[in-house]
Subunit: 405 residues, 2 copies
């Protein structure tokens, strides 16, 4: 029997509680021992619930109870989650979390603290909701250097882009629809501006590189500038547009990590991922590309990933597979200006024939799709060279979208 405490009885926390209770037999069988929720920490009033006796609002009750060996942190955000996590780990209690912000911000410090105290800090649920991705990255690619991880890591933005492509909805209408379906937060900026994707790709980057990747150093562009016109160009390129977090380890050990909407050829499996689904492609060297796909968010998928971590701890199978990441070498993440890619560019011009963007060579131009503008795909060029050339361009720049390699 192991006893756990759940911090925060919101969407994920209540999901964890219900899953463990409603699947008691199955969970016991898988874990090899019973798992019981002894406390739930939440300041709100749950006194009319049947299980009201589980609720506490003083964290010290949990900290000082030696029977509690695992703390599930589903509060989200930096504080008080960070302080609570540190206190638990310092007491030798393992912590399981779904909190991507905390893992991305100070995951390394928390893993180190766990190791020092012979405890574990586990965060399968922090990336990709119910998709197994963290554990496979640690366990299943051991003989291969992972060179690249990239994927669709945010369901809200993928739903919006799918609506724009399939049903010709504008960005604004698609956003409204996804909010009405309950997928998006009322303040959708963390989703649509790419910050949610950024936190997740930073966690994956730290795992594959073994070094802390700080999200402050990661170029992050959202999907708010993507227009229905862009989707038409993409369609004529037999491509889709997806918000992608990408992380590459370069031969010199430095990394390219960024978040941006990308044009993706329909030949690539990522282009097939629609609606609220997420997918992460891992280039595992010898194993070739693999895709990890599923629902990236939602109460039960995320709660299920948390419970999987708790079960792993209960089995005592979780030898400290998560080593602390090293401090990042200086300038680990290469500046986005230097990323050499093909870019799709749209330019407003009345004279398509005469339009040129500096010395940039187009590898493909489009038959006129909209009056008064042209679209083209550049040769491989650094982002800085491209934007420098665009400054001196005669026509007005309507948009730039990276073309996925």
């Amino acid at each position: 029997m192991i006893k756990i405490a759940i911090l925060g009885f919101g969407t994920v926390g209540s999901g964890v509680y219900e899953l463990i209770k409603d699947n008691k037999e199955l969970v016991t069988q898988k874990a090899g021992t019973e798992i019981e929720t002894k406390y739930i920490l939440d300041v709100r009033d749950f006194s009319d619930r049947e299980d009201a006796h589980l609720f506490v609002n003083d964290y010290d009750v949990i900290l000082n109870d030696d029977e509690v060996s695992v703390v599930v942190e589903t509060i989200g955000g930096l504080e008080p989650a960070c302080t609570f996590t540190k206190k638990a780990l310092s007491k030798g209690k393992s912590v399981v979390t779904s909190n991507k912000e905390l893992v991305a911000t100070c995951g390394n410090e928390l893993i180190s603290l766990a190791v020092e105290n012979n405890a574990k800090y586990m965060f399968e649920a922090s990336v990709g909701g119910g998709i197994p991705i963290i554990r496979p990255l640690f366990h299943c690619y051991v003989s291969s250097d992972i060179k690249r991880v990239c994927g669709i890591l945010n369901g809200t933005t993928n739903y919006i882009l799918t609506e724009m492509f399939k049903n010709g909805q504008t960005f604004e209408k698609a956003l409204l629809a996804v909010q009405q379906n309950g997928y998006a937060e009322r303040d959708p900026s963390a989703d649509v501006d790419g910050h949610d994707t950024c936190k997740k790709i930073c966690i994956l980057s730290s795992i594959i590189s073994g070094q802390s990747v700080d999200f402050h150093n990661v170029y992050t562009e959202g999907i708010t500038k993507i227009s229905l016109e862009d989707t038409k160009y993409a369609a004529s390129l037999d491509s889709s547009i997806k918000l992608i977090g990408e992380s590459k380890v370069l031969p010199d050990g430095k990394m390219e990590v960024h978040v941006a909407p990308m044009m993706i050829s329909k030949d690539k499996i990522l282009a097939s991922i629609e609606d609220v689904y997420n997918g992460v492609v891992v280039d595992g060297g010898e194993t070739g590309d693999t895709l990890h796909y599923g629902r990236g968010a939602g109460k039960l998928p995320t709660a299920s990933a948390v419970v999987a971590d708790v079960v792993e701890l209960a089995k005592n199978a979780a030898v400290p597979y998560i080593r602390p990441w090293a401090e990042a070498k200086e300038n680990l993440v290469v500046s986005h200006d230097e990323y050499v890619r093909n870019y799709f560019v749209r330019i407003k011009t009345d004279n398509a024939d005469k339009c040129a963007i500096g010395k940039v060579v187009a590898v493909k131009t489009f038959k006129e799709i909209f009056d008064g503008e042209i679209g083209l795909v550049t040769e491989k060029i650094s982002y800085k060279s491209l934007t420098d050339s665009l400054k001196n361009m005669p026509g007005e720049m309507l948009g730039v979208i990276e073309v996925m390699e």
Copy 2:
């Protein structure tokens, strides 16, 4: 330091040897200890190799060497692989294998033998090559009852079907091409008749049900009857045709397990998987559907999965997460005759209007695609009712293909 022996220096065995040697630093780091190949068992003559001293042809040398704690069985087939495996496990040596035939045939017995001897029997590489699937099934879905696993489990047949769809190749020409590319065996029957897929879906079925699923009880149909005409009908249904292994746990605990070509709507992610790639969809209950996708075969992907298992053993992290499967309850696998599905049917007839197949109701008929025949999709009906009706049909039956649910 742990010392291993590799049985069989064929494609996978040599891949394992090279991966461990060429990635020594990385493997040591991941495993937390060095992994050294002490012996390679192969009766062929490798005396001109630099590492000729590693080769032995007497298995007892390996068995009697207490330094060898892990045996990698990459011989394939039932014997002598089975006897060698039993001998190693009986001595308390763990065994890692890529041998789907052996795991499907007597996996349960071997897992039990391992548990009795405080050893482990690990087989990530037996299904899906480099795609992590066995370990996630055991580790990552712990809180959810898995209700259904289905997928494309054979690269050769998927390549053939892709060629037929994309390039209008006949089955025979596509088969020749895949043989020339080195993907298919010279005798391709295990692939194209579905037996390879059957072994793999049986292994996955045993894992999700916790009971031995015997491949002799599993209806298995290959792709040799699929014609270019079928692909045209599929295209007009906005579908693809894939060879699918499917396993469902029914509410009464019985199972539907079968292998057959299926029409799959392009809305479903499995329809997007092309060429030699494999993909397994897991319906993880609360987690929703997830897809595990990648190269399902090949020297390095498969070897990489073997090495991942060896590393897991080296870390001593592999608490016996693989419990023996129970003996199957009587009639565990429901007869294929009883599977209720929509079926696509093609009938040769000069009078499409008057054609009827018994009492079967068509939910969709096709505009005439080929002269002198009609195609239709039936209502949901058991396979037995369908085939009974087809016997009494006025026209000649040209083909029946299940439509994926």
